[in-house]
Structures are given as C-alpha cells and as structure tokens.
C-alpha cells in the first residue's frame, strides 16, 4: 500500500487517537445541539496559547496546554454569559465570542515577539501531522516489534493517548448521567445530576480534546471529528450506546481512508502527498454522505422506498375496494388505464384480466379492506360522534392501517353491510 513506518506510523496513530476522543465526545455535543462549540473553542484557543507563551517565554507543552485549556473554558463561559445576560441567540453568541477571541489571538501574536517560534494561525488550523516523522525508524513491520522502543514515540502522541484515556473514562463513568442530560436536562437536574454541571464538565473535556489534538492534527480535523462521526452514527442507530460505538468506528475509518487518500493515492500518480488532516475531514464527510443515503432506517433511499411501498399498498387497497364496491352495487367501473398496480394484482391472481373483476382470492382481500373501512366508519359515527356524512374521508385513510376497531355492528352508518372477516 505504500505506507512506511518512519513517515506514516505516528501521524496515523496521532490522528486516530485525536479522532476517537473527539468522536466519542462529539456524540453528546450533537445530541445537545452544541455541535459548533468545538468550532468556537478551536478558534479561540489561539489567544490562550499566545498568552501562555508570553508569560512563560517557552513553548513547553504544559504551559501551552494550560493556556489553551483556560482559553477553551473561558470561551464556553463567555458564550453562556453572552447568551444568558444579553439574551442573544446561541449561534450568534458563539460567533461573537470566537471571532473576537481569535482576533485577539492574532493581534497578540503580531504584537508580542513570537515570530521566532513556530506558532501561527496556520499551524493551529491545518495541523502538522506530516511533521511527526520517526527518524531512524525500523524499515519493516517485523522489525518494529523487535526493536521499536517507546522512547521514539513523539510527545504529541502521548498527550493524545492520555486525552483519549481521560475522555473514554469520563464517558464510561458518567454514561448514564450524560445520557439523561443529553435527552432531558430538566429530568437530570431533578434527579440530582446538575445538567449545567455535566454540561460544563463535558465542555472542559471538549476543550481538552481540542487543545490536545490541534497541535498534531489541526483544528479542522478536530471540528470534523467532533461532528461528522457522531452525526453519521446518529443516522445509523437509535440507541446511544451503539451510537457511541458506531461513531468511534466511523472516526477510525475516516482517519485511515483519509490518510491513504492523502499520502498513498497521490503517490500512485507520482504526485506529492496532500494535507492529511483535510483529507480525513473530507473522508468523514464522504462516510456521512453515504450514511445519509444508505442508512437502513433513516437514509434518504430507505425513506423514499418506504414511501413508495406505502403508496403502492394504498393504491392496491383502493383498486381492490373500488372493484368490490362496483360488484356490490352491480355497476360497471368506468374503464381506466392499466397501470402497474393493476398489473401486479393481475399477476398475483387477485384480478381477472379478461373480465376486469375480482377473483375469489381478490374478493377476500378486498373484503378485508371494505370491512376495515366500514368498521372505522361506524366507530367514527358511534364512538367519536362524527356526523355520518363526515366519516367517509377519515375512514378512507384509516382503512389502510392493518387494524380496525373491535365490535361487530351489522351495517355501517350509511346502511351498507359490514362483511365478515374472510378466512385467511
């Protein structure tokens, strides 16, 4: 496949670790309609980084992390403040806070003398996955197991691993509470788990994951991984536990596919590799698009198909019922175009093509529809109290449900006999 240990191992591991932490935490953001918090936080960590650098005059990881985390948490608090005190709509509140903080960061960056270090807005946004090269790495995967030593692992990978362990621990330990708070914050608070407190804790973790990730993988991948895998999983499942698992799998798949697309695919055409973080974001989008269309329950195709199937089944019921009524009243139906619904009923032996009338099997099927229709009519007239001339339209819809009210009235409100249930 063309992946090599020295160039590709650590970038891929770093991206995977970041993606899994973000993917896990993102589930709760998406459910609580806070997807864009990651976006806001990742923009506004910049001033925190610069201030930490100016204060400590070093680029030590701890200082950077503390500064960025402080900035991330203040973003969350500021957004809440603007939202509550100013009664500003949440999206606008986020927009105000993160754009001002980002501008502050850029200004501080220019004014303070940080030009000597590699700290710029570009690195924050795009990430530097490609720089995690393992110099002197073993050349084959077999050698890796023999002589790979932990000391070669870059510090960013350790940070990300720690973050993943913390995030997974948080989600695992607080799963029950997070679930209640995500779906019903008021219930959670009345049960004694402050929804606001959980929200803040979650935000601290999001800020932490953002900060731990951005240096290695860039904020664009963080934003993509906070939202896309969780959104994809939400389209694929209705249970939170399985949603968490699916989102992690999607995050992993997006990373691996994106990395291959960024480094291996261009190599086949003799081109240089492109930005891996961006490519992973695109892959996350591609996986999501696939889920939007092909999800078995919530997908566009499945929903279209269900709608189509329901339309056909209603058309069948209606055609059978109209033939039954015509036979009952001993009139001829006006000739109608032979459509595909009639065609399939003829093939199933429910309609006799030559005489354009119901066969025995067709009559039984039609009888069921008519029975349901007239049972609903009498129910609506007797129990609901609608006027007899108002019940037909509603019964016309309800007859297509495969259920009918109980009771055995002999006739419907119009005096027509209610046929018995035909033998199966």
């Amino acid at each position: 496949m063309g992946l090599s240990i020295d160039l590709d191992l650590f970038p891929l591991i770093a991206a995977l670790l970041a993606a899994i932490s973000c993917g896990l935490l993102g589930n709760f953001l998406v459910l609580r309609r806070l997807s864009l918090m990651g976006d806001a936080i990742s923009h506004s960590v910049l001033p925190g980084l610069v201030i930490a650098f100016v204060l400590t005059a070093s680029r030590s990881p701890l200082a950077m992390f503390t500064g960025a985390l402080a900035a991330g948490v203040s973003t969350v608090l500021l957004v809440e403040l603007v939202k509550r005190l100013g009664r500003v709509e949440p999206g606008a509140a986020m927009g105000v806070v993160f754009s001002v903080l980002f501008a502050l960061g850029v200004l501080l960056l220019e004014v303070s003398d940080t030009s000597g270090v590699d700290l710029d807005a570009e690195c924050v946004l795009h990430g530097q996955l490609e720089t995690l090269v393992w110099y002197g790495a073993p050349q084959t995967w077999g050698e890796l197991w023999q002589q790979g030593s932990l000391s070669a692992v870059p510090q960013q990978v350790w940070t990300l691993l720690l973050m993943l362990v913390l995030a997974a621990g948080f989600v695992g330990a607080m799963f029950k509470e997070l679930r209640i708070a995500a779906f019903d914050p008021a219930l959670s608070t009345t049960l004694g788990f402050s929804a606001t407190g959980l929200h803040l804790a979650l935000m601290v973790f999001v800020a932490g994951a953002t900060v731990a990730s951005f240096e290695a993988v860039g904020s664009i991948l963080v934003i993509a991984m906070l939202i896309c895998p969780a959104a994809t999983a939400r389209l694929l499942t209705d249970r939170l536990a399985s949603q968490l698992i699916v989102s992690v799998l999607v995050a992993i798949a997006s990373c691996v596919l994106g990395y291959i697309a960024a480094s291996a695919v261009p190599a086949w055409f003799g081109l240089d590799s492109v930005n891996a973080a961006g490519s992973m974001a695109v892959m996350a989008g591609a996986v999501l698009t696939l889920a939007v269309f092909a999800s078995p329950r919530h997908g566009v195709i499945a929903r279209r198909w269900r709608l189509h199937a329901m339309g056909r089944s209603i058309a069948r019921d209606d055609l059978l019922a109209s033939l039954y009524r015509a036979a009952e009243a001993m009139t001829e139906l006006p000739p109608r175009a032979h459509d595909s619904v009639r065609g399939s009923l003829v093939r199933e032996g429910l309609i006799d093509d030559a005489t354009d009338s119901l066969t025995a099997a067709g009559k039984a099927e039609a009888q069921r529809v008519i029975r349901r229709h007239r049972l609903w009519e009498s129910y609506l007239a007797d129990q609901v109290g609608l006027a007899p001339d108002h019940v037909h339209e509603t019964a016309e819809r309800l007859e297509h449900l495969r259920l009918a009210p109980t009771g055995e009235p002999p006739t419907d409100p119009h005096g027509k006999p209610i046929p018995p249930e035909p033998p199966a």
């Binding site: 100013g86 001002v100 220019e110 930005n275 490519s279």
Partner: protein
C-alpha cells in the same frame, strides 16, 4: 495624536485612506446584511459559507491554471468561491430537510468538510504550483492592510447595494424574518425573498473574503447586528444601527491599526466591533446588562420590602407599625433571606420613605408604608380568591403562586379582578384598612 487625527480625517496618505474607507464600506455592507442573517437565526450560516468558499477558490485556481489562464485573476476565484459557498449553504438546508440532523450539526459538517477539502487543494497547490498559494491563503487570513483602491470601490458598491436593497425591500425582509408562515399565507413569494436575503449575504461574504479574510468577514456579519440588537426593537432602526456600527468599527479599527505599529488591521477591526458589542451589552438602556440588573434588583428589593410592610400592617393593631429585630428576623427566615439582605431591605425601606429605624434594631413603618402593606395584603387575597374561584386551584395550593403575583398586579388588572369576582357573586376582599380583618 496628530497622526491619529490625520488618519481619522482621511489625510493619512493614499493607501491608509483607501483601507479606512474600504473597511468602513465593508462594515456598512456586512452590518446591514448581517441583520437578516441574525433575524433568520443564521448567524453561523455565514461562518459555514465563508469556510465553504475555500475549496471553490482553490478549485477555480487549479481550473484556471489548467486552462492556461493566469490563475490569480480575481473574478475567476470569486466565481469559484461563490459556487462552493452556495453549494455549502444548499447542503446545510438539504441536510436539515432530508435527515434527522439538526441545523447546528449540518452547519458544522459542511463547514469542516468543505474547509477540509479546501485545505487539501491548497496543500496540493502549495506543492505543485507554489507561486499561486500565497495569493490564495489571503482568502483565509486576509490582508486588510493591503486593500487596493479597486477593492475599496467594490466595497462601496456592495455597501450601496445592501443599503438600497434593505431600503427598498425593508417591509418584505422584515415580514419574512419575523413571520414567514404568515408571509406565505399572505401571498408573498417567501422563498424568493429568502433567497434574495441569502444572496446578499453570499455576495458580501465572498467579496469580503479576499479583501479582509475569513474570520473578519464572519465577525463583521455577526457582531454589529448583535450589538445593535441591544439598542432597539425596531427592524428599520436595527438595520441602520447595525450598518453604522459596522462602518464605525471598520473606520476606527483601520485607523487605529494604521497608527499602531504591528497591529494587523483585520484583528483591530474585529476587536473594535467587539468593544462596541461589549459596551452595548452593558450600557444599552433597555436590554443592557446594567439596566436589566438594576431593574431586577429594584424589583427584588420592592418585593422583599412588600413582605415586611405586609407583616407590619398585619401587626398594626398590636404595635402600631413597630417591627422589632425578632419580627424582622422571622420574616427573613420565612422568606429564606440571608442576614445581610434583611439589612439591605431596611435601608431600602428607609430610603423610599416608607419606614424609619427604631430603637430595637428593627423598623418603624410609617403611614405610607402601612398603606402599601394594606394594598399588598388586599392584592394577595384578591388574587387568591380569583385562583380559587376561576382557575380551579385547590385552596391549599394557592398561596405559593400568590406570593409571586401580589406584588406586580397593576391597577387595571385589579379593577378587572374585582369585576370578575363580583360577576360571580363572590365577596371581594374589602379594602382592608383595619389590620384585624387579616
């Protein structure tokens, strides 16, 4: 100082003047257009739109290079930006309509995926056609200080366009922003009007992108309308104010960055807008934090004072309006006030001339205070009676809600309550001048 004055009066040299006027014009255009985004709750749509423009810029550059055109011709790049930007906005709307995902997730998805694609293309250009990459990254970070006269003219055109469009279509825009269902029922072409508003946002965003960069466009679309919203509840005033705030931020910010060494113009402009936002959110007369906190505290004090006065009125027969420290403490305990709050109430009652300090560390409630106490007691019983007889609340359940309401009943409401109760033949609580009846 002299330099600052020169810049502000547009005498700070040709380039500076161009930048100051150009950003002021962009601020005006974005401020006006941003109001519609805010009112339609689409502030972050502008964010997604500007991120989604990036792959278009890079793609247009690649396409133009492949066709042997000079890749950096601005119109081509702008067309590319518009195409993917609009595609991004349409994707958001489609995702919200066709799936169970909410708008915030849809915006985040489009923003990150499109921007990711843009970064991929940019990194490709950087490695394979490095001469073009520098020009393209301006679309992200902007280059406000290097704005050309042509850019400034474009901004002026945009500003005129936005102001004219907002002026001519004010009624339609406002209608759709506040009640699109009613607008549709009333026969207005809602989607067309909506599209027009979105188109204005797109045009301003795309044109602003290459001049001042991504974050600043987003900031200028979002911050001025939110800041202006604090000052007014009328759409026309809001649009005018927002435009003015945008223009002022551009003008002051660009001027400040011209004077200050090293300060990037884009950031200073955003921070100026942010400062105006902060001032507005604090100091606006009706919706500002200071004013609403003041009102809130005032109400809280008045209500708390009412409780004390009511108590004094109830005990009038025994001690003629004298409340000792133990009685005050009892009220405080009953209401759950901390000790210091009781002190504040005493002070506030004295300040309002309703009571004065007495020897026992309590208060002596004066005649005016006792009258207020009587009114409160009567309101309490009026509302209680109303809840029992009209709202069908069990008598044992009324007290709690009554305690909240008795302080805020207005004169017309009291008259209405009285007539409602009389209409049912229920005894209206008397004017309760004598405390014994309580």
């Amino acid at each position: 100082m002299a330099e600052a004055f020169e810049v502000l009066t547009l005498q700070g040299g040709y380039n500076t003047t161009v930048v100051v006027l150009g950003t002021a014009m962009l601020g005006l255009a974005a401020g006006v257009v941003g109001v519609f985004a805010l009112l339609r709750k689409r502030s972050l749509m502008a964010d997604a739109l500007s991120h989604a423009a990036l792959p278009g810029v890079a793609g247009a550059f690649l396409a133009a290079s492949a066709l042997d055109m000079t890749g950096r011709t601005l119109p081509v790049l702008l067309i590319g930006a518009t195409v993917t930007g609009v595609l991004g906005v349409l994707s958001i709307q489609w995702l919200v309509r066709a799936t169970r995902l909410r708008e915030d997730a849809a915006i985040g998805i489009v923003l990150s995926v499109f921007f990711g694609a843009g970064i991929v293309l940019l990194s490709y250009i950087q490695k394979n056609a490095p001469e073009g990459a520098a020009g393209l990254s301006h679309f992200i970070y902007g280059q406000t200080a290097a704005m050309s006269a042509a850019d400034a003219k474009l901004m002026a055109v945009l500003a005129t366009l936005s102001v004219v469009a907002a002026g001519l279509l004010l009624k339609e825009f406002t209608l759709v922003c506040f009640n699109d269902t009613f607008a549709a029922v009333d026969g207005w072409p809602v989607s067309l009007i909506d599209l027009l508003m979105m188109a204005l946002v797109v045009v301003v965003t795309v044109a602003g992108l290459q001049a001042v960069g991504l974050i600043m466009v987003v900031a200028m679309l979002i911050i001025p309308p939110v800041a202006a919203r604090f000052w007014t509840d009328r759409a026309a005033v809001l649009i005018a104010l927002s435009g003015a705030i945008g223009a002022l931020s551009g003008y002051l910010g660009a001027s400040a960055s011209a004077v200050l060494p090293d300060a990037p113009a884009g950031s200073v402009i955003v921070l100026t807008a942010g400062t105006i936002f902060a001032i507005s959110s604090l100091a606006a007369p009706k919706r500002g934090v200071i004013a609403s906190t003041y009102r809130h505290l005032n109400l809280r004090l008045r209500i708390a004072g009412d409780h004390v006065l009511e108590k004094a009125f109830a005990h009038k027969a025994q001690d003629g309006g004298q409340l000792g420290a133990p009685e005050l403490a009892a009220v405080a305990r009953h209401q759950g006030w901390p000790a210091w709050f009781a002190v504040v109430i005493r002070w506030s009652l004295r300040g309002r001339g309703l009571a004065r300090a007495n020897k026992g560390g309590g208060v002596e409630v004066l005649a005016s205070g006792l009258a207020r106490g009587a009114t409160v007691r009567r309101n309490h019983r009026l509302w209680e009676q109303y809840l029992v007889s009209y709202a069908d609340i069990a008598p044992s359940h009324v007290d709690w809600s009554v305690d909240q309401v008795e302080h805020v009943l207005s004169e017309p409401l009291i008259t209405e309550l009285e007539s409602l109760l009389r209409a049912r033949g229920i005894a209206v609580p008397g004017a309760a001048v004598d405390g014994a009846s309580a």
